[in-house]
Symmetry: C2
Subunit: 590 residues, 2 copies
Amino acid sequence: MMRRWKLLKSAIVCLLLCGVYFVFSLWTRCDVNKKDDNFFRDENRQIDGELHYHNRGAQSFNMVEKMSQEKGPVKYQEIECVINGEYSVQGRREENEVYFPFSFLQKYFEVYGKIEDYDGYERFEWQHSYSKVFPPKEKYSPDGVFMSFEHYNVEVRDRVKCISGMEAVPLSTQWGPQGYFYPIQIAQYGLSHYSKYLRDGKPDVVILEDGEEEDVSDWTVPDRKSQMDIIRDGTLDTNVIEFKTSDSLKSRGIVMSLDEEAGYIFNVQMKFITNGSISVTLETNNGDSMRIHYVQSTTLMMFHGREIFYGLGDRRKKWSRITRDLIIDLQKGLALKYGKSKRNQLKSDFVKLVSVCVRGHGYIDNVTLSSSSHLDQFYDAADWLVRHQDSRGGWPIMVKRRLVPEVLDLPPGWYSAMAQGQAISLLIRAYLMTKDHKYLDAALDATKLYEISSEQGGVLAKFAGVYDWYEEYPTTPSSFVLNGFIFSLIGLYDLTQVAPSDKAEPAERLYNAGIQSLKSMLLLFDTGSGTIYDLRHFTLGMAPNLARWDYHTTHINQLLLLATIESDPIFRTTADRWVGYMKGHRAAHN
Amino acid sequence: MMRRWKLLKSAIVCLLLCGVYFVFSLWTRCDVNKKDDNFFRDENRQIDGELHYHNRGAQSFNMVEKMSQEKGPVKYQEIECVINGEYSVQGRREENEVYFPFSFLQKYFEVYGKIEDYDGYERFEWQHSYSKVFPPKEKYSPDGVFMSFEHYNVEVRDRVKCISGMEAVPLSTQWGPQGYFYPIQIAQYGLSHYSKYLRDGKPDVVILEDGEEEDVSDWTVPDRKSQMDIIRDGTLDTNVIEFKTSDSLKSRGIVMSLDEEAGYIFNVQMKFITNGSISVTLETNNGDSMRIHYVQSTTLMMFHGREIFYGLGDRRKKWSRITRDLIIDLQKGLALKYGKSKRNQLKSDFVKLVSVCVRGHGYIDNVTLSSSSHLDQFYDAADWLVRHQDSRGGWPIMVKRRLVPEVLDLPPGWYSAMAQGQAISLLIRAYLMTKDHKYLDAALDATKLYEISSEQGGVLAKFAGVYDWYEEYPTTPSSFVLNGFIFSLIGLYDLTQVAPSDKAEPAERLYNAGIQSLKSMLLLFDTGSGTIYDLRHFTLGMAPNLARWDYHTTHINQLLLLATIESDPIFRTTADRWVGYMKGHRAAHN
């Protein structure tokens, strides 16, 4: 008898709910119409908010209808949707509205989105593009932040094999696994650290040793054949540490034990008499300890046991500095041994520096650990450019570039207008910081290749025989890559602002011709819903090479930069429209 | 007690259903995954077919869960979807799949679709574009069908006010309500009827009167002052009908009663001595009868009472023919009185011809009603072009064309390379049919304006100062409309194939230069997902003017035509890719 009563009660609950839901379902109908009219109005959210609840009600109500086998409208059903007569997907039909699964829309339209949870309130966030625009905060200036490069982090990119110990700049593997020095990447490395320096200001620096305390008791000398002293150095005119012990990596070395978490940028000045090395021991947050050896070798890098080796080349005869990002040195070492996947698990795994160790016979000074060392990295890049500029004023790129295999190939040794331009932007900043003319002279020399046609080994192309274009990839026929051309112009602009009047003429002429070409040709890259990366479709008669969203945003960032230094409204208006494309807005059709 | 039992039973039914649906819901899960993997495979339909049933089951099951207030996953629910952070739409969520309403997708992506019913099986048909490509059936030839013009029906377009009784060609109101003769429209009118003639062959013709039966008893003479006789005409060298009665439209006239449904193209040859007219009475399928008067007046058209009037101009002194599409004459008349909407209700309302009536003093012969009269309409267009070609070999367009108001305006009197080209294509066909040199000479003269720059009042533009382009709209700066340019080239091609070698040189030179420009510039119109109508974005630095789908298909039809006469694969491969765009396929991005 009791059991019956339970069932009876639950049945009654059923019927009551039906009644309530029936009222809801009536409300719903009018709301649905309201919604349709207001489709793009702001009240939408609120209205839809209400609907949320009502429709659920209506839903359940109809399901009950079905279950109780009554005839009546089923508001929800599956429906086959034939897509352009090519294939089918299953949609959901409610009266005259048909719903399409995002898994299909994502493939069909290449849109993005996912369900986000806000403290239990879940909503779907639809993104037309995955990329982000950084509008400039002020008028562009040759001594300011470079575009949005303060957000760049060149060295963490997978295509950067490591920061060379000998050259102190990134080594690229983008187009050749063997690795090569890519002037564009090196300039961007310098420009990003310069921009971060302007953004972040002075770093926190912990001095581990500078010899000024005239006390080496922090250091543990392994045996009586080894020794460590403080001496006065004539060149540096400061106290420095002289150390003398076995140079064998098997030996214990002279060790300073630490427990330092203040930063991950390791700086040291050194001058060796014999072979020798400097090693650091890191603790990682899974409790392991890893050792990195900086050795006088021409080997780029090596992984052996649990130890990573970076070659510094010959560090004898004169003082030199190394600035090492211990996180990057660790990650690139792990990537070398385990590949990306494992490396990524271990990412930013560095916790603290637990020891520094020197071997061989030599001197060290200003051993520091800091939160950043952007200026050092900036100068490392600028100095590399000065050291490696050739007699034509360029930085030949020693890798084969296959823009369109068999059709647009560049054999090793090609120059890039983008490399020239980005190098100039970096060198000009180094000149303005130091007033050292070696930087300015290198920047001035870097314009010479802008005057030489691609066929002649330069970077100058002509569109339709009339418009000058400086080629990121000086192919024949020309490829007219937009973003590289604009970077080449920004470099020229920097030079026109800084070069003494008697030396500014080539840069001014080249910049004016280039900006004129850009104004004339810019819209050829506009598809009405995005942008095109280059004009290979025009020169080769093939499909346009559409720019993926991060190149599209680079185009926009570049136009917004130019809008701050050029009066022609075309840059601003075009950039604004291109921003709209990222939200699915399209140019009108006739 | 009995009531309790009922409730009890229904509750049990509930629980049983739950059990069954639970099993279904398990099946569903794996099927859903299967579905996702096979997304673009054909088995889909079948798999989805099964799902249909299962999901419904799962659905109801969960609703019961909800109703009975148990905790548990709700497979179907509404979810707010935020679109690019700009606004929200309500989606539908099932586990991790989110569904979007087509009413939103349609607005956002401009796609098309609707639910179609196949004998009770309803499915949704998604269309990326609304337009259709007509691949050529054979190699293009100057005496063959013109592109896909056999599908054109120029005269029914709303922008055609009517077929002029004096000029026997359409009068356009596209860019001016006053109406003007638009050579492009007239050439297309002729080319479409020529193409239909080739497709349909000889029409069914009913001879209503040709005087050969030497019997006028079919005609009712109203009074003894009126008369009708058969006489021999020296000019035509056949029997013709002479009629003499009042020329007043109030008078009864001489009437032949009919009950003729064989066609709707009314043909008659006439020569008037005095003022006079020819009238027809039509029966419409709502039982009404309408009268159309063809009068010797210069008034284009008029509607009075239930009667429509078309002015034929002066038809005295010499024999002339009129060919009237009675459906069109009726519709345009109704449109004049009632506007489009009412006209559309009455569309193709003509049922039968119930009488022909002549007034005044004159002669008629070969009075016929036929299913079509394409050749007559073709010659009406060709002869208009011969009559109206000016001393520069062109057909000036006497309406202001505002391509981009205030920026690209053409004052009345402009020439169009498209008009010149389409006219040549028509005139060449008339020449090949008749061997009458007036047509060939007009076609040869029509090339002269191709040589004259837009600034000089011609139609020749240069892209970037190097590529010759014949302008549909010879604006300054140039607009480079693609489809008009290609039509201008097809005309030149027709001429090169037919003109005697001593006269072919200009056409050959102009065609070769133009086709070279087209090959070089074609890809500039390719957005990777559609095409651009013109290059105003390049010349004016504004947003690209995207081609709507029917212009896109015109581009494709034109390239497919060129692919049959030009060896360069660019036309075929580009057309194939552009066909893909109509199904949502896109060019790759980098």
